[in-house]
Symmetry: C2
Subunit: 194 residues, 2 copies
């Protein structure tokens, strides 16, 4: 639905190649919006046609930067044109978001309630590990980027985005702790505090 806009926003923050974008969507951006390289290349193609972004290939890049680059490669760097920037502003203004939260694990719990027990304990433990790992990552980013100095307005917004992730993981882990006994697992050592 909003994948092209997710890509535009990523490019506004920093012009990138399709490959770079794919990696960025595997990291920071991917924490709240996922996109595969196939989606990315397809959308980049469409957005070039639509005139939202422009592409600079290896030769153009070599010309643009004074220094001679290490031979023109196939690498294409995309940047957002004014029309694309306007499109982002339009999308932000005009799209009415709803409360949207698909959760397949809750679906599984519901199946367990209906025809269980189905042995969901292992998966709960695996998900706890994953959420804990992500929480740790968020905390590292917090320390690295937002600790101990004054923040600009844009940085405060970025911090708010990170806090959304932090809170979400913490809340999920607390909740999961209460689910453990319902799936036949022992209670965790000293609460979730970790």
């Amino acid at each position: 639905m909003s994948t092209p806009h997710a890509i535009l926003i990523a490019l506004l923050e920093k012009p990138s190649s399709g490959y770079d974008l794919a990696r960025r969507f595997d990291r920071a951006i991917g924490y709240f919006w996922r996109a595969t390289h196939q989606q990315i290349y397809r959308e980049l193609g469409r957005m070039v046609e639509a005139g939202w972004v422009a592409v600079m290939d290896g030769d153009a890049l070599a010309q643009a930067s004074q220094e001679a680059l290490p031979a023109a490669t196939r690498r294409k760097v995309y940047r957002v044109l004014p029309v694309g920037r306007d499109e982002v502003a339009r999308w932000v203004r005009e799209t009415r978001l709803g409360v949207d939260d698909r959760n397949a694990f809750l679906l599984k719990l519901r199946a367990d309630a209906a025809i269980g027990p189905l042995g969901l304990g292992d998966e709960l433990l695996r998900l706890i590990d994953e959420h804990r790992a992500r929480l740790d990552t968020y905390r590292e980013i917090e320390q690295r980027d937002f600790a101990g100095h004054a923040l600009t307005n844009a940085q405060q917004l970025q911090y708010a985005i990170l806090r959304a992730g932090l809170l979400q993981q913490q809340t999920w882990l607390e909740w999961a702790d209460g689910v453990r006994p319902l799936l036949g697992l022992p209670a965790s050592e000293r609460g979730v505090a970790n």
Copy 2:
């Protein structure tokens, strides 16, 4: 991805017509899994072909129940066959879930940080209302279905599903409260406690 299984689970809980399912997905089930009537009818058709569910039309229903029904209508009631039940169990066992959380509002915040301000205050207020309304709904369900009496194992699982929703809404509202000043909104009266 898991829409057919969401439908199977709903049918396991209670055999229903396509229309009934659509309404159930607009209410309780829809709080963590959405499906439109078009998806539902398509999947029901596929699952009948696959032998996962069976359909009883008006005539068959009239025969099955002793009492004479108010004339055979077009209404078709679907129920899960043993094969479908096995398929649910298989899906629960074999599907490895990940941490999945697309959040278009965070995307918008990121756009605001990059090229803002884009006037996101109104949308934040609207979302706060929506989340608050949903929180109220959850609390009503909690009082109605889970208050003041012992719960069976299945009920405890259903309560855990509800608690996931409750916590999610509360956490989101707390977070949103901290975002208000960043979007030029006044702080809320006495915190989020409501």
